[in-house]
Each structure stands twice: as C-alpha cells, then as structure tokens.
Point group: C2
Chain length 317, copies 2
C-alpha cells in the first residue's frame, strides 16, 4: 500500500519509491539531454538539422512520468541485484523515445488532433505537422541507435536482443497495431476480449517490453523471465483500466488533460463496458496478479517493481 | 558502359545486371511477402491487426526498383565473395521497409501531398491518413525486427551493427534529417554545398547505408570498408543529381511520376543551380568516382556494384 509520504510497505520492508525514482530519473534526464543532439555522426559525417532536433527535444525533455524508463531500471535491478548498467540506461531512454514519438504522432490532426500535451502546445501546433511527422520518425530511429553503441559498453548480443524486444513492442503486433485497432474501434461496440486485445497492444506491449528489456540487461533465468512477463502483462493492462477510471473520476486539472474525453469521443473504455465499480475491482485484481508474479519470480530485489505496480494502480493522475 | 541488352562491360568482363538482379529480386520479394504478415509474435503472443498489415503490404510489395536491397546484396557479395546470407537478405528487406515507410509519410498531405505512387493511389488516399501514419511507423519498427532474428541465423554482433547502421541512415542525421532540410528549403536559394548536404542526408544516407550494411554482413577489412563508403557516397549523390536531370529531360510517362514537379514546387535542384549540362557532367564525374572507389577496394567481386552505379547514373527513369 502507498502512504501519503510515498513510502510503500511490501512484505515487511519499507521502500521509498520517490527517493528511489529521483536518482534514476535524474540519470535518465541527463542521458536524454545528452543523446538528443545535432552532434555529427562519426561514420556518416553529417549533423542533424537544428530545427528537427529542437522538435525532438521539445517532445521528449522535461515532461511525463517516465514510467517506462523506471520499469526498465527496476526490472534490471531486480535481475542484476544492483543498479547501474550502460545497457539499462540506454534501454530506459530508448523506450521513452518510442513513447514520446507515439504521443507526437497520436496528437496529430489525422489522429487525435490534440493541441495541448502536458500543458504545452503539441509538437505539430508548435512546429507544424510535417515537422511533427519527421520528429516522430527520427525519434523512433534514435531509439534503436541508442541501443547499439559502438563502444564496448554493451555486448552485441544484448544490443540485438534489446532491439528485437523494442521493435516488437513498438510495431504492428505491438503499439502501432494497438493504435490501428483503436482507430478502427471508434463508434463500435467492443467485447471485453477485444478491448483487452486492443490495450494489450496499444499500451501494454511497450510497458511489458520495458520490463523485459530491463530484465535482459541482466541475466534472467527462465523462471524470472516468465514471472516478469506476467508482471508486465498485468501492469500493462492495469495502466489502461486505471486510465479509463480516471477519465471518469478525476477532474481535468488533476489529470493534466481533458477529463471525460474518451466518452465524448465515443471510444470504448473499461468503464463503459463493465461499469465503474467492476473496473476498480479489476484494477486491484491486476495489481494482485502483478505482485504474485513478483513473488514467484525467485528474485530478491523486487521492491521497486512492486512499488511501481502499486503506483500504476493507485495513482491520482 | 550499359548496352541496350542490359549487359555492362566493366574492365574486361561482361556482366549481365538484369539476370543478376532477377534472381535476387525474387528472393527479396518472397522474403518481404513472408515477413510482412499478421503472424502472431511468439513472445508477446499477439497478432498484428489485418487492416494495418494490409496497408503495410500495399506500400511495400510489387513496386519500385529495389535499388537499396540490390546494393545490400551486391556489397555483401563483393566482400564475402559468394552470394547467399541470412543477414544480407534481412538487411536487404530492412532497407526497403525504411524506404517504403519514408515514401508513405512523404506522400501525406502535410508533406508532399501526392495522390499517386507507381501508378497506384498513395497509401493515405487508399487507407486514410491515420492508417498511412501508423503503417509507416510500423514499417520502421519491422525493419529493426527483421534485423534481429531470434534463431541463430545471424550472430548478435552483426545484428547489432546492422541496427546501428540502419538507425543512423534513417534518423535525424540521415534520411529524416534530410527531409527536414528539404522541407525548410522550399522557396529558399541554397548554395551548392547546402544542396549537397541536404541530398546526402535525404537520399544518400540510406543508399550509402545499404552498401555499408551489405559489407558488414561479410567481414570487410578497413581498406574495403573505406572504399565502399566512398562508393556509397558517390552513388548516393549521383542518384539525386540524375533525379533532378530526369525531372527536366524525361516526360511523365517515362518517369512514372509527374515531370517538372520540383521546378513547379520551387524546390532547389542541381539543374536549377548549375544548369543541365554541368549537372550531366557532374553525374558522370560521380560515376567515375564510384568506379574508382571500387578499384581501390581490393575486392575482386565488384561487378554487380559497378553495374548498379552505372544504372543509377545512366537510367532513363
């Protein structure tokens, strides 16, 4: 359970998610700041145009909860036993770049046509539609570039494995596929199974992918890997159920975006399908599933993962 | 020189590019046909939605000259001495997916607003703008998925190296960066240096990247690698110079797209900058540079690369 101070008690140990997160978010911010640049590429010998990089930085830096990077780092620490790994930091930044590009493209007029994101004008409003399109495209490419450093800081097999996990989480059987189902579902009635399938792809795949990428930065055994996959699936789904609940129960200022938007847009949600009370029970069930998965992982260092699951389900925005 | 029969004599040997290409294009088509599917992802356990995959297949299959895949395969054969490699076939398909996604996004209303491509309605005309956006995004992710097979057919170090080369060729200091410069340049006067920089990123980076990816599927020594990088840079630039020449000299039916379009759109071109005659001389100079690079590569099996360079410069469309 999460207390007002941000301290969570999981099992018998106290764990302070906020202080755990603060150090790691600082590292992630510094790394993103450093890696999204116009810096000349050594081999090709060209610099990225400043205007494009400005749009990329605008869409990534100083914003968001950074849930996906935190999942990467927590999963890595659970498997490796200790924090700090070049691979995990790169993976943390790469998943955030994919998340950021998806928001940039999702906000465009041909998609959700949003003009505000985290209280700022969206990228296409600020830089124009064409620049938003290209900035998103370039952010996706940069994610894979970050995963494949040419120094010896990450071994080649791990680099390849991380690229594979990220590509599948982002692609047609992952995030992009889920967005396509979402697009086709507006105004249609979905069954609970169809709604779950859509969200498992749209949001769940990258959240689960973040957990798996973090795990693969260590040397997970098959028991741990299976358990972390289940954990990732549970929190991926829980994230969306809670999003749907907050869309109904929170006001816009707490949420930081327009409340009630999904219902207004005639989008299918868990609340519209199963009602508010059953949605809330379902979210708590998924949290319990996530915690049980951690218990059977055989991993000792799962307090951060447990606290993140708790945060996903019991957050206010 | 290229004869009417498609046979080219480079040095003292006859080389038939058409028959060399036919076999390889068949392999590439079959592989693309097989790899762009709704097939359930083993690990994540989800299928891609059929409608999205249909848009992806529409944009990739049965179309285009496949210059980039041929460059990958020719560079691999030059380095390895023999054809046939799981890595090279995957790299060939991956560069084509990146090329295809760039066309899908480039044709969208917020970019070039083209309604026809290879005689067919463009993806956004056929499937809608949002689907075109997502299909392009998913094609980019699929390119990296293809480069990272989970079987043992390609070693991890090679997978990682190919992902890095592709990410940089496609990203902000490559293709996407070049498109951003192009976007900002409409209606402006560019110097020859600025025009070259734009094209080196927009078109050259992926063409050169194709050559380097093919080379890295073998075991290139540093002499060969430097020479192939120079070869790639020369044909990358030549490709665009010839494009600009054909925009002026060819009619629309030969070209398969609207002739004179760049001039109408007030886009800077080599012809507008240096005139037709000097542009033609420049293209032949670049061809000579490409051939000289092959001669100093120390590689024996460069006939296909030589013939492809010849084709790039002396093509009619």
């Amino acid at each position: 359970m999460m207390s007002a101070s941000g301290a969570s008690t999981v099992g018998s140990q106290a764990f302070h998610l906020e202080s755990w997160s603060r150090i790691r978010l600082d590292q992630v911010e510094r790394a993103l700041e450093q890696w999204i640049t116009t810096e000349t590429s050594v081999e090709v010998g060209h610099a990225a145009p400043a205007a494009l990089v400005e749009a990329m930085r605008y869409s990534v830096l100083d914003g968001g909860k950074r849930l996906r990077p935190l999942l990467v780092l927590a999963a890595h620490e659970a498997v490796a036993g200790t924090p700090g790994s070049a691979a995990a930091l790169r993976a943390a930044c790469a998943v955030e770049l994919i998340h950021a590009y998806s928001l940039v493209h999702d906000d465009m007029p041909c998609m959700d046509n949003d003009i505000l994101r985290r209280g700022k004008p969206t990228v296409h409003v600020r830089f124009g539609e064409a620049s938003a399109l290209l900035a998103g495209d370039a952010l996706q490419a940069l994610a894979f570039e970050l995963l494949t450093p040419e120094d010896a800081s990450v071994d080649g097999v791990t680099q390849a494995r991380l690229c594979n996990l990220l590509a599948r989480a982002a692609g047609s059987a992952g995030m992009a596929g889920g967005q396509a189902i979402d697009l086709a579902s507006v105004g249609h009635t979905l069954t609970e199974d169809e709604l779950r399938e859509m969200h498992q792809l749209k949001t769940g795949a990258l959240l689960q992918g973040s957990v798996l990428m973090g795990a693969h930065c260590g040397q997970p055994d098959s028991v741990a890997l299976t358990a972390l996959r289940d954990y990732g699936a549970a929190i991926g789904l829980a994230f969306q159920v809670v999003d749907d609940i907050l869309d109904v129960t929170a006001d816009s200022s707490t949420l930081g975006k327009t409340a009630g938007k999904d219902a207004d847009n005639d989008k299918p949600t868990y609340v519209s399908l199963m009602g508010l009370a059953r949605s809330q029970t379902y979210a708590q069930d998924l949290l319990a599933q996530a915690q049980q998965a951690l218990q059977r992982s055989g991993l000792k260092n799962t307090l951060a993962l447990a606290a993140l699951a708790d945060m996903v389900v019991n957050r206010a925005n």
